[in-house]
Point group: C2
Chain length 312, copies 2
Amino acid sequence: MKKATAFAPASVANVAVGFDTLGYANAAWGDRVTAVRTSALGVKVVSITDFSGKPLPFDLPKDHLKNTAAVGVASLLEHTQADFGLELTIEKGIALGSGLGGSAASAVAGVFAANALLPSPLKKIELLKFCLAGEKVASGAAHADNVAPSLMGGLTLVESLEPLVIQTLPLPKIWTLSLREHVEVKTEQARAILKKEMTLQESVIAQARMGAFVTGCFKNDLATLARVMKDDVIEPQRCHLIPHFLELKKAALAGGALCFSISGSGPAVFAWFDSKLSAAKVQDELADVLTKKRIAFDSAIGEIDRNGAKLV
Amino acid sequence: MKKATAFAPASVANVAVGFDTLGYANAAWGDRVTAVRTSALGVKVVSITDFSGKPLPFDLPKDHLKNTAAVGVASLLEHTQADFGLELTIEKGIALGSGLGGSAASAVAGVFAANALLPSPLKKIELLKFCLAGEKVASGAAHADNVAPSLMGGLTLVESLEPLVIQTLPLPKIWTLSLREHVEVKTEQARAILKKEMTLQESVIAQARMGAFVTGCFKNDLATLARVMKDDVIEPQRCHLIPHFLELKKAALAGGALCFSISGSGPAVFAWFDSKLSAAKVQDELADVLTKKRIAFDSAIGEIDRNGAKLV
């Protein structure tokens, strides 16, 4: 094979109860990367466009030392001592600074496509560290809560970064609503505003909720999920970055959402529902709120994506 | 019925990964309470002894406003508008300040015995709040991480205190070793020395470990449990209260323990093993360490108790 194209889904990180650890794959959005073998060594980004080949409304670096896909792919080629190089064509379906794991998805799609061109491709889970190396150039620090679900699919928990261990949780039977206002929140900024400390009591509550959340996933116990999918620490510090967040949240919970919180560092938000109908109703209500305020957005209803990265 | 006797097991709280939330029942020790109906209203503590009827080597209040069993029983009688009183005979198998949930076990045994004498006894789980009311007078604050496992048996997670919600986790197939040096650690003191804040990073690690711990319990995945049953925050602040803690821990882990940490606020410690043989070997090794240092102790090997409180 000389050429491979991979799709990697967007991802919702943090998931209200697992800051920097939980994430799930959301295939309503995603990035696509085509890798073409070259005899020259090294990785080169040929183009970055949207899915229709048009220029993006935001700037992403093509520099092979700054582009998340290129850095991830280069680390894979180096590890496997590949005797060839790759040219990458990147198609972005995830906007910059949307809180939907766009930098992670590009890295994952790139690494997954490149892996298909290796003489002895690695297993999916073995690709995680190369995806993480790519993600790191975008976020400044290694966080696997987006790359893990984008690569593996499903709902993942980053047990630890050193060593890198991921747990894949059973999926509760829920419908997701994701909504992204067309404003940009810089991840670094959203991280910089966070207090570096929390009280012991806050941490105890967060730990208990995490434990109950995992229990709820294993038991498909939606009542438990609804009780514990709350974030008293991170969300209040960040929600002012998202116009009308509290109004949207109130409407979603009143409409039957099991939970409503920020996707990653925002501005995307997510809600879980026990039925598609409730999700659709709330989707309409939130659309009304934002339309009246003349804020552009897009939203999607779906199930948690089980596939993660795939060749297309 | 005019008279009922209940046994409530000791409990190991915190369990390395769940400060103030996780606990499991340990029937190697326990308290026994006999309740006898009286026509006079109110609750009276008649005697507090060891299991052979001998005086205790430590002081516990018989005052009905300060004794955990009496307070718990009184709250149950008040709630059910009982038209009788109770005399309580308390037999302690759990030493004061041992970190094995002695105050909780007395409250649980008392409430469980009293419940059996009601015209319409409540369900076990409904007794939790009365046990908690009793425990509160001993510890100053309501913590359910001892009363929940002592009452319900098994491995419990206090999802929240307000409202009081308990999750019972599946039991991994492990053997437990518990060891108690004969020194007293006052719970209030062990709590007072704790820093009131932790870093966001410490909390993220603790949350991830809790999530992976629950996953490990559901999957009976002992390798995961061994990786994550660690406490970098509370244990280092408290372990100096327990003579030779680090030496014991080193020996236990070298001997194959999956984990080793403090039971509650100590001085009791616990370890988990994948076989009874490993547990027995480590029990001998720890005994050697403490015998050489002329420190009195007792220890027990067993499985997590599934029953919790029971009539005897």
